[in-house]
Every structure is written in structure tokens, then in C-alpha cells.
């Protein structure tokens, strides 16, 4: 007797987003099934795994997460090169810490120049991240979009209060964006609807604002699952964008991570694999060893 396993076929896909350009461009999303359900559908692209680079030396990183970059922290170009060449990152996230209005408060022009230099020097796709300050991020990311025109960067975060201006600049200069709505599927959809009135949906990646293990990971897990299910099972077009998770900061703030290098790496890797199980398509790591662990597990 033949046994036909009951399979759930899904007729729609998560949109495939292409990040960066040329040979090293990275594709994420594109699946028509739930995470790791390769027996039910197709998962054409493995998750994008990015490593973080800062545009200035951070003053609050735990020693064991700073250690891999100790020789390059003062120079973002060298830092980025080391991540790509030594640590094998296929994608980088340049965080423009220098623009933080509560910190150095550097100008958008300077930040855009640094971004240009770094992205010219290393040919992997880049996520370029502001400082989660709505107004300043708008100024900075618009300037970055202009100066790095045509590089197909992934600019973020774009939120309800600044999406129009940033998305317009991204559209004009050929970049993708990260649409961020904090831990809420309804608001995620809301922002996507607003964006899609003028911005191509295949250039949007959503960020539900991930909380690492110990900060409400269960909640993030549910939101990611929810977004994915609304997109695939309920075929909601506004919920079919790939999902990004950024959690290195949380992980390395824990007491456990600060106490021990090994614990920190495991904390970050555990958080990362959990989000992949929930359905995330793009992860930003802080420690190269955590990224390596995940790569070994899923790729």
C-alpha cells in the first residue's frame, strides 16, 4: 500500500528581495512554505546572514565581542574588510553610530561619506542602519541614498513617522528599505500598505524589532510566525515581505554574555536560530563566531 504523506501546498510566495549588486548580490525570501518545510514546498534562498560594522568605535561593547575587531575598530573600512575577508560574511550591516543625536551627533554628510567609502571598498551587499532616531535617521538615510546612488543598499529602519521621505529617496536612488513596526502584525501591515502606494513591495524587508533571548524572544517568535502565516497561509499580499532580525545588541548586553565569551556567542547563536525557526529571512550578527555557528547549522 502506498502512503501519501498529507502535505500542505501553499500557492503564494514570500517576495524575493535582491540585496546589493553584481556577483555578490544576495537573494532572500522567495519561499512558498513555512520555515524549513522543504518537504512541503520550495525554499530557494537560505537566510541572509550579515555581520555588523560600526562607523566609529563603540564605547559599550563587551570585551569578548569587541575582541575579534580589536585591530580594526578605529577604521570602518578595515573593519568591513575583515568581516568579509577574514570572517567570511556574505553581507554586512553598517551601523551609523556616529550620527546618534544622543552621542556624537555627526552630520548626515559625514556619515554618507563614510558609507560610500566602506561600500566602495568591500563588494558585498550592505544594510545601512541609522540610530533608531526617527528624524535624524531620515536626514542621514536620505543623504546616504543620494551619495551611494545605485548601490542597492538596504536602508533602515524606516518607520511610520519617516517612511515617506526615506522611501522616496530610496526609490529615486535604487535602494531597498527596512520597514519597521514594533512587535505588531497589524502595524506591520499598516506601514506596508502605506509604502506600497508608491514603493515596490519587492524592495521592502520588514523588521518586527526583535528581542533577544531574555528580552521577550517568545513574543518576537510569535510575531514573526504571525507575519509569515498571514503572508503564506492567508495569502495576505501586504505580509509577504522577507523578515529581518537585529538582536546582537540585546545579546551582548546580558550579564551572561559579559561574563563569558562562550556564553555570549551561544546566546547570540541561540537567539538567531530561534528566529530562523520562526521564519526570519535575514539576521544581523555581532560576533563572527555566532554567525559561523548558524552558518554550519543551516547552510
Amino acid at each position: 500500500m502506498n502512503f501519501d504523506p498529507p502535505l500542505e501546498k501553499i500557492s503564494v510566495n514570500i517576495r524575493e528581495a535582491v540585496l546589493g549588486q553584481g556577483e555578490k548580490a544576495v537573494k532572500i525570501g522567495g519561499e512558498n512554505t513555512l520555515p524549513f518545510h522543504s518537504f512541503e514546498g520550495s525554499l530557494p534562498n537560505s537566510a541572509g546572514l550579515a555581520l555588523e560594522v560600526l562607523d566609529m568605535q563603540p564605547d559599550n561593547w563587551a570585551p569578548s565581542v569587541l575582541e575579534p575587531f580589536e585591530d580594526v575598530v578605529s577604521d570602518p573600512v578595515k573593519w568591513a574588510k575583515k568581516c568579509a575577508e577574514v570572517y567570511g560574511a556574505e553581507m554586512l550591516c553598517l551601523r551609523l553610530l556616529s550620527t546618534d543625536p544622543m552621542g556624537k551627533d555627526g552630520s548626515p554628510e559625514e556619515a554618507a561619506e563614510i558609507t560610500k567609502k566602506v561600500t566602495d571598498a568591500v563588494d558585498v551587499p550592505f544594510i545601512v542602519w541609522g540610530t533608531d532616531m526617527e528624524e535624524k535617521d531620515a536626514q542621514v538615510l536620505i543623504q546616504v541614498a543620494r551619495v551611494c546612488s545605485g548601490k542597492n543598499l538596504l536602508l533602515g529602519p524606516v518607520v511610520k513617522g519617516n517612511y515617506e521621505e526615506i522611501a522616496k529617496a530610496a526609490l529615486e536612488h535604487g535602494h531597498a528599505i527596512v520597514a519597521q513596526a514594533s512587535m505588531d502584525a497589524n502595524l506591520t501591515k499598516e506601514l506596508n500598505i502605506a509604502l506600497c502606494k508608491f514603493f515596490p513591495p519587492e524592495k521592502i524587508v520588514v523588521d518586527p524589532t526583535a528581542s533577544a533571548l531574555g528580552y521577550g524572544l517568545e513574543y518576537t517568535f510569535s510575531i514573526i510566525e504571525e507575519i509569515k502565516q498571514f503572508g503564506l497561509v492567508d495569502k495576505d499580499k501586504m505580509m509577504q515581505m522577507p523578515i529581518l532580525c537585529d538582536f546582537g545588541g540585546d545579546c551582548w548586553r546580558t550579564k551572561e554574555a559579559k561574563e563569558s565569551r562562550e556564553q555570549g556567542i551561544l546566546w547570540e547563536a541561540t537567539t538567531g536560530i530561534t528566529f530562523l525557526l520562526a521564519g526570519a529571512n535575514l539576521l544581523i550578527f555581532r560576533h563572527p563566531e555566532a554567525l559561523k555557528l548558524i552558518k554550519e547549522m543551516v547552510i
Binding site: N186, E190, I193, A194, D234, D236
Partner: protein
């Protein structure tokens, strides 16, 4: 469908002030307006009435009854004010509301028995708001059994399944729909009601009544007995009173059909259909649900 007008409400700043100053005019105007618009009951929401609950209630109820013959739904959390109001009601009143909490069982439900009134009984209990339809069922069975023992028959119980804002928890809206269909099997003879406007709390102002109206038509189909609604929403009243049968029919179709052909619909029809689909949980709610 029994419509209970919600507009005499102390939460509205104006009503709060005129009650305090014992000013009859604006209150009677609000009462007369809702009566004229065809409400079946009027809700008199006075909140907790901390100052002179007895005097306030007596004055207010008498004055309301001067301008309307409608039965009243007395809406206060203060049992002293409730009893004072019940004493002067000319028609069989509705106590709004009791619940399954220990406090409510001890204070509100005995009043319903003592005065042989109707009583709104919500599914809330000491554990809070039940999470889904089955938990609602368990909670209301327990509370209703308690009420029956006090001598309150099912026919006097108006079950409130508790309607949460769709923007807060869409699944609670679908479990409401599930529960209301079960109710007659659970408690034969019991009636039902809900605070309809709560559904659209937090939604864009201009879209609130669209949500409320659509949902009311939907729950009417599922056997909802009554609802506390705005006594001044003319379209809602016309919908429920059978004056807009095409829209009602369209909402029913949108409830039943999986893939509806939307191409031939007018803008207004399209809005009702999209709203029905969101309320059925067929598509994820967002404040811009009409724009997709």
C-alpha cells in the same frame, strides 16, 4: 434586534458636567433624540457615582422618564446607585452590568433577583476575560448557574460576550462570533448584548461607524439579541431596521463566500465587503483595511 442607545454617558464630558449641575435640558435633549431615532432601550451610564449616588440616580432617572417611555438600562458600577435607580424605574429595567466576578455575584446579581429585572451578565470572571469561545462558554455557564440559583431565569439574563477593539486583538473578535453562535445551545432562552462601539476603539475616527454597523449586521445574523449602540447613527439604525436590504444581503454573502467577485461593486458596497472580511478574520486588520 433590540437597540440600546448609548449616548447618555457620563464619559462624555458634557453629560458629566450637566449631571453634576443638575441641568435637565441637555440630558432631556439627548434622551428625546435617541427616542425619536427609534431606540428600544436607553442606557443611562453614570459611572461609579461617588457623590450622593442615591440622590443623583433618583433625580436623573425621573427626569429621563419625563421625556421618554422607553425602558432603561442602568449602567453603574456602584450597587447603591443601581438600587436607587431600580426603585424609580417605571418599566422593567436592565442592570448593566453584572459579571462572574465574586464582587459582582455578591452585589449586582442579588439586585436583579430582588427587583426581578433583566441583567447584563458578562463572561468576565475572577480570572479576567476568557481567551476564546470555549472559555467564554465555560465562564458563562458557571455564572448563569449561579444566577439561576438566585432565582434569575435565563430569560432575564442578557449575556455580554465582551467585544474587544479589533485593533487590539482581532482573534477576540472572531471568538466573539464563534461564541454568539453557540449561545442558544448553552443557555436556552438567554438573551445577548454587547457594547458595540468598543469594537472600533482606536480605529480612525471616520471609519469607526463602518466597523460598528457591519459587525452589528453580522452578529444579528448569528442571533444576537441586542446591542448598545449610538442612538444617533442613522445608517446603523436603517441597516438594522431592514431599510437597506441590499447591503445586509451583501454582508451576508461576504460572510459566507470565500472568493467574492468585487469587480461590479460600488465604492460603498466594496467598503462593507472589505470590512466584513476583516471582521470575519479573513484578512489581517490594519487601520487602512479599506485601502487594500
Amino acid at each position: 434586534m433590540i437597540l440600546i442607545g448609548e449616548d447618555l454617558n457620563v464619559m462624555t464630558g458634557k453629560i458629566s458636567r450637566v449631571i453634576k449641575e443638575r441641568e435637565a435640558g441637555p440630558i432631556q435633549e439627548c434622551v428625546a433624540g435617541q427616542t425619536k431615532n427609534g431606540m428600544d432601550y436607553l442606557d443611562v451610564n453614570v459611572g461609579p457615582v461617588k457623590k450622593d449616588p442615591e440622590g443623583t440616580m433618583e433625580w436623573l432617572i425621573n427626569m429621563v422618564q419625563d421625556v421618554t417611555d422607553l425602558p432603561l438600562s442602568l449602567d453603574t458600577t456602584n450597587p447603591v446607585a443601581m438600587e436607587a435607580g431600580l426603585k424609580v424605574c417605571k418599566k422593567k429595567a436592565l442592570i448593566n452590568s453584572a459579571s462572574g466576578t465574586t464582587e459582582s455575584r455578591e452585589t449586582m446579581l442579588p439586585l436583579a433577583a430582588k427587583y426581578s429585572t433583566d441583567v447584563v451578565l458578562s463572561v468576565i470572571n475572577d480570572a479576567g476575560l476568557p481567551a476564546d469561545a470555549d472559555e467564554r462558554a465555560a465562564s458563562i455557564m458557571d455564572s448563569a448557574a449561579f444566577a439561576n440559583e438566585l432565582g434569575i431565569p435565563n430569560e432575564n439574563i442578557w449575556v455580554d460576550p465582551v467585544l474587544l477593539p479589533i485593533g487590539v486583538d482581532q482573534r477576540q473578535v472572531t471568538s466573539y462570533l464563534e461564541f454568539i453562535q453557540m449561545l442558544q445551545d448553552l443557555l436556552p432562552g438567554a438573551r445577548s448584548t454587547c457594547g458595540l462601539s468598543n469594537l472600533s476603539y482606536g480605529a480612525p475616527r471616520e471609519l469607526k461607524s463602518l466597523l460598528n454597523r457591519t459587525f452589528l449586521v453580522m452578529i444579528a445574523k448569528y442571533g444576537q439579541h441586542s446591542a448598545i449602540v449610538s442612538g444617533f447613527d442613522q445608517e446603523l439604525i436603517r441597516l438594522i431596521r431592514g431599510e437597506m436590504p441590499e447591503i445586509v444581503e451583501l454582508i451576508y454573502r461576504a460572510m459566507d463566500e470565500a472568493d467574492m467577485d468585487l469587480s461590479a461593486l460600488s465604492q460603498k458596497e466594496l467598503e462593507y465587503v472589505k470590512t466584513t472580511q476583516v471582521l470575519m478574520g479573513k484578512s489581517l486588520y490594519s487601520h487602512s483595511w479599506l485601502e487594500v
